[in-house]
Structures are given as C-alpha cells and as structure tokens.
Symmetry: C2
C-alpha cells in the first residue's frame, strides 16, 4: 500500500511518453529521494498543453513494479495522467511531490502555455501538490541528459525540504551544455516572447492542400537580464515560479471605467 511507504511519494509524469529518455533519466535520478509512482502517456503528447480527454475513455495499465518504483502507462494526455493517478492510485493520500519531464526541448518564455510538461505540473499545483516541470534544451530523441541529473536532484531535494506556495509550481529549464559549463541556477521571470508560425503548405497525392505547423520563437525583450531566456542564453539553469491565477489585476480598474 502506498500509504505505508516511509519515503516521500513522488508522482512522475511527462509529455514525451513512457519510452522517452528524459523520463528514464528522471526515474534514475530521483530514486534516492522517494518512492516513485510513474504515470506516463503511452504516446508522445508534445504540444498538448492542458488538454484533457473527454471524447474517448482512458486506459491505465501497470507495466512495471520494482523495489522503489512502479510504472503505469496512460492512454491520455499529461493532465489526464495526473488526474487518473490522483484519483485511482492515491485515493486517501496525496503524493509529496510531482515531477514532470525531463522534457526533450525547451519550455521557457511563452512556450509554457503550449507545454504538456508544464501543464502536468500546473495540474499538480491545482491538486495542491508541490510540482516541478523540468525541460532540457535538446529536442532530439537521443538527447544526452547527463548534465541535468545533479540540478534535478538539487532542486527536488530543496523543494521536498522547503515546500512551495499553494498556488505555485516551478518551471525549470536546463541549457544544453556539459555540466561543468553550466554556471549555476537563476530564479527568473517568464520572458516576453512569441512563436510566429510558418505553415509548410503541401499537396497530398490527391492534389489537396495540407499544412504542417512550424514556427520560430521571437524574444520580445532580448535585453532584459532577469528572464528565463536570458539565464538560459548565458549558461544558467532557469527556474520560473508559475502560478495559476490568470487574472490581470492591473486591468480591472481600467475595465471598470468602461461602465459596461
């Protein structure tokens, strides 16, 4: 039974699916810190953001159980994984920590709104579980996550020790550098930036048009030195505290003057 575990219980998920190297790195890195319950999507779910599955039912299958961890595969999105885990695997108790990732590719700046990795962490936050999303700035399937391990451990250990504010989770991005070239960790704000799309328009064998989404990131404040983009660009691990209240408080008074 999970509630009998003496160690902290750590719920792990990701958006690249259960076979992803980033997830395996996380499982190896975090075994010293707790009992790991891994619930990961059966397929890659990149770009699924905070999507939940409502049109089809979900499957949840245990595929592995070893000393120190158990692994489940879920047919849905990262947020489905968090919801199913909390409802079906943790009934009556709450995990001590949720860790999502390590994502293959960056989730800094505006990318946080598209990210399944960060959506899982935000969902954990809605469940009032201290939650962290980790991303590594290498999109490739065979990315080498070696330099992430010590930073992941340090941040997880500190979060278990200190806890997080109820409505806050952490968005951690790690630059693609050898460990000894990473200069340290910076606490940052989310950089203002946007993705600008270039759709790749093609013709199918029936001569009908179709579009592939591609895009390029534009940094709208390249000179700011307190953002996640700046930190990553200068060789630091970035941590942005992320919160779940989207209200723009500064606009409330202005809108009241519209006298609607």
């Amino acid at each position: 039974m999970l509630k009998d575990k003496e160690k902290p219980i750590i719920l792990i998920t990701n958006d690249d699916g259960y076979r992803a190297k980033g997830l395996k790195t996380l499982i190896e890195a975090l075994q010293p810190y707790g009992y790991l319950v891994v619930v990961a999507p059966s397929e890659g779910q990149s770009g699924m953001a905070h999507a939940i599955t409502v049109k089809v039912p979900l499957r949840l299958d245990k595929i592995e159980e070893k000393e120190g961890y158990e692994i489940y595969v879920c047919s849905g999105t990262p947020v489905d994984c968090v919801k199913l885990a909390n409802n079906q695997l943790f009934s009556g108790i709450k995990p001590d920590l949720l860790v999502s990732g390590i994502n293959h590719g960056a989730n800094a700046s505006a990318s946080v709104v598209y990210s399944g990795t960060m959506a899982a962490a935000i969902e954990g936050c809605l469940y009032e579980i201290p939650s962290i999303g980790f991303s590594y700035l290498d999109f490739s399937k065979n990315a080498d996550f070696t330099s992430c391990v010590s930073f992941v451990r340090k941040i997880v250990q500190k979060t278990l020790e200190k806890g997080l504010e109820k409505n806050t989770c952490l968005n951690v991005n790690i630059p693609r550098l050898p460990e000894n070239e990473i200069k340290g960790i910076k606490i940052c704000r989310q950089n203002k930036g946007v993705w600008r799309e270039e759709f790749d328009k093609r013709l199918d064998p029936n001569n009908r048009e179709y579009y592939w989404l591609t895009g390029e990131f534009y940094n709208l404040e390249p000179d700011a030195n307190d953002t996640d983009e700046w930190a990553l660009h200068h060789g630091y691990v970035s941590i942005v505290p992320v919160q779940i209240d989207l209200t723009d408080y500064q606009s409330i008074d202005k809108l009241k003057q519209w006298n609607l």
Copy 2:
C-alpha cells in the same frame, strides 16, 4: 482582398466546432460590427486547452462566403485555427478583433486552464490582437443563446472602441438566465477553485478496465464577492481580464533565499 475591407475585421473561432449553435449566434450578433472571418474546428474540441497539432498535418477549407463574412473549417484545435488564420488568411494585415465562442458551458474560475475557447483568445493575445472569449452557462447542444446577444454586442463594441492592453484578453461568462433577469456586467478576478475528478471505471466487452473522466467543481472561496463565480451566481455577466505572464512574482524573492 481582406486588406481592402472598410469595416473592422473580426476573426471568429470556437472550440465546439463549426456547426455549434454558439458560433452561429456569434456570427449573427457580430455582422453589424465588422467583416467576419470565421475559422472553426471541424469537430468539437472541448477540453483541448492550448493544444497545438504537431503530429499530423492540418486542413483548412473555405465552406461559405457571403456578403459580410466567410467561413473556414480547420481540422485542428482552436489554437491551430487562430495560427492558421493569422498565417494563411491575414498575411500582411492583422484582424482588429478576435472573438471566440460562444462556448456551450462555463469557463469561469479554474476552468480557464482547460478551455479551448479561452486558449483561442489567449493565442489571439499572443498575436497582439484584442481578444475576447465568450461562454454561456448552458452546456447543452441546443442551448438558447438569445440572452447573450446584447451583452456580446455591447462588450465587442466597447472593445473595438477602447482596445485592450497588449498582454490582456477578456474571459466573459454569461449566466443561464432570461435577458431581463441578468442584472448587469461585473469586472471580476478569477475565482480560486478546482475540479475534483471522479473517474467512472467500467469494463469493456473484453473485461478490460477503462475510465471516463467526470468531475465536480469546488469553489475554494465561496464567500468572496469580487470573483467571476460570485458574479455569475448572483445573476451578473462576469468579465475577467486574463494575462499571459504566468510568473508568480511574489515567489521570486522566496526562491532566491533557497540559495540554489
């Protein structure tokens, strides 16, 4: 050519799909205010949040063009609709306004993070287009949107006139009441609340388990009188200004003291 239009250009999308009654209500309601370019998903996309389609290509087909509006159907998510429209239909110009909805069902409080309707508005905001998401508190397919029309028009007209802050869009929810029972419009903050899941666990014909996501909303601050939940519960239309910077600024200093 769109750039020759004399009226404001209004981009319309939704997450219930191009056949939805809420979308049709919006098209009828907004024709006096601009030239309408409607780009809606081919199928319902409820709960898709800010998901983008990266694993399969997208289709975009014009299905109707009349005096005053044109309608396209897109195979992707609400956010795909906004991206494709901006990239393929508006090259060189920018719509004057983006309106998403009218959603069949509420998108107040924490629901904003799961909402495809609001994701489309947030995406518009990332494109620096003044953007509004409208939702009506009736989930049914045949909801009667009559009481929405005058409020939609009033809010759209004022937004065209006044504009919005660059990083802000509006989340408008309309209570399910006859028009003459709606008391007015309140500018609000996002209520603190959560969805708590109850998964409906069933057995398929092969005796394997599957799960349907269901849930119940919990209001974590039922006594607050400045939230969208309060306004809706008391017969008002709620407007929450929503912004795209998720940074929890108050946690930055605390995290710096962790000395990571």
